[in-house]
């Protein structure tokens, strides 16, 4: 039978720095390799439409004629499939989770 085990643990943590951080005053450090946000680099893109075809949630639209790459941030699940299939490596994954999608308006690049 254990006696005062929780008390010991509670007392130890009462005198230790909290395990949590004071967000938003102390922002969370991005973790290397984390799938945070999809980043599009216009320079390399050949508007081949592969990313839009493969996107599991249909969050991407590519307009080859007008050279537009469009993303619906609220649909994107940051799975990274488009980054994998992009032939020109014009898509990449940012590690930060700080930017939040708040609008249904599509982002046009």
């Amino acid at each position: 039978m254990a006696y005062f085990e929780m008390t010991k643990l509670a007392l130890k943590w009462a005198m230790t720095k909290p395990a949590t951080s004071q967000y938003p005053f102390v922002p969370r450090q991005p973790v290397a390799g984390s799938r945070g946000r999809l980043v599009f680099t216009k320079d390399n893109c050949i508007y081949c439409n592969v990313c839009a075809k493969k996107c599991p949630t249909d969050a991407l639209v590519v307009n080859r004629k007008e050279k537009k790459w469009i993303i619906d941030q609220l649909r994107c699940i940051t799975c990274g499939y488009c980054v994998e299939v992009c032939p020109k490596k014009s898509l990449s994954m940012d590690t930060g989770h700080d930017r939040v999608a708040v609008t249904r308006d599509h982002e046009i690049h």
């Binding site: 254990a2 085990e5 643990l9 973790v31 984390s34 799938r35 493969k54 699940i77 799975c79 499939y81």
Partner: protein, 358 residues
């Protein structure tokens, strides 16, 4: 004595997900429990008919937020069985490691919820503090915290290099130390025992007849674990099911505590034996055939049935999830218990309603 019907759920402090029970009570004793489910049905099985089978792994992973990786893994295993794809050994080991990390975070989540359910807030916070360390390992190795997204048909998307393996093994030692302290409280503390011992007893015969799975079944003395089937790397890493014989809520808690250390041991063995080599193979063509795949989720055995007819869409996709198998047993143990014990009994089956309703 007059009978009263007390509605329990779908919104209730102990329920992370919605399930409704009509509890027929006489004084403080529950006489009957009538369930109704279906609050979070999303029609994911039907979605298989309109999603490419390669992309569908993302949907399979989202059947449940807590056992997500093993859902993706089971789906991939089923497709690989149909298409006769030989997954590289390194990928198989990585899947095993991630599967066990997923089990660790699921069990720690549950132990926290259970502590919260009995009003032991401090223990709940500490359990989740340890879980956070597991989530950090998962995020660093897969890119996601709960939706891993690292499993694909034909292998895995990411590799874990030698430096990361050493770092993770060091972190796991720290986590083990934390978990030893927490399980001591969970299993030996007077107030925890008072809430769990002798509550919601399910006998071995009942567990067998009602088709229980996972820790619910093992806590009643049936030594069965789908990892013994030898899927992924479990043909080289042997798993002895952790069992108890009491069949009460305490036994179910003890089985899950034991499985925490078992999972740590499996991860260490997997990292010791992991071979070098590629982590994926190219998948060409479409699947044709039908298969049933079974794996061990944190909550028990999950069964996948897939039928493909040579197109890129599956014709039939069916999942029997562990909570669905454990619900009849939960209804069996509720009659006769005190109304105040109902939340604990419901929690000890580790209900995952998203899984159940898909």
């Amino acid at each position: 004595m007059a009978r009263t019907v007390i509605p329990f759920g779908p919104q209730h402090p102990v329920l992370p997900e919605p399930v409704h029970l009509d509890l027929v009570v006489e004084d403080e004793k529950v006489i009957e429990a009538r369930p109704s489910i279906g609050f979070v049905h999303r029609g994911l099985e039907k979605l298989a008919e309109t999603k490419d089978f390669i992309e569908f792994v993302y949907v399979a992973e989202r059947i449940c937020g807590i056992c997500s990786f093993i859902h993706g893994q089971t789906y991939c295993q089923a497709i690989e069985t149909i298409m006769n794809i030989a997954v590289p050994p390194r990928a198989v080991y990585l899947r095993t490691v991630w599967g066990e990390l997923s089990r660790l975070h699921s069990h720690l989540l549950w132990l926290g919820l259970m502590a919260d359910g009995m009003g032991f807030e401090n223990l709940f916070m500490h359990t989740w503090r340890v879980r956070e360390k597991i989530l950090a390992i998962i995020e660093a190795t897969t890119g996601g915290r709960v939706i891993f997204g690292s499993c694909k048909v034909g292998g895995v998307r990411r590799d874990i290099d030698a430096a990361a393996i050493t770092r993770i093994l060091g972190e796991l030692n720290e986590i083990e130390k934390d978990m030893r302290g927490l399980t001591k409280i969970l299993l030996d503390d007077n107030s925890v025992k008072a809430r769990l011992c002798g509550v919601g007893v399910l006998t071995r015969a009942q567990a067998h007849d009602l088709g229980c799975v996972g820790p619910m079944m093992r806590a009643s003395g049936i030594a069965q674990d789908m990892r013994q089937l030898g899927y992924a790397a479990f043909n080289e890493i042997k798993v002895e099911p952790i069992t108890r014989t009491e069949g009460d809520s305490y036994a179910r808690c003890a089985v899950r505590c034991g499985e925490l250390f078992q999972s740590l041991d499996i991860i260490r063995q997997a990292f010791a034996k992991i071979p070098d080599g590629p982590v994926e193979v190219k998948v060409t063509g479409n699947p044709t055939g039908e298969t049933i795949t079974r794996t061990e989720q944190p909550r028990g055995e999950v069964v996948y049935h897939l039928k493909a007819t040579g197109t890129k869409f599956l014709q039939r996709f069916r999942v029997r999830t562990p909570t669905f198998a454990n619900l009849p047993a939960m209804l069996q143990v509720l009659p006769g218990c005190d109304l105040a014990d109902v939340p604990m009994i419901i929690l000890t089956i580790d209900p995952c309603i998203s899984c159940t309703e898909r």
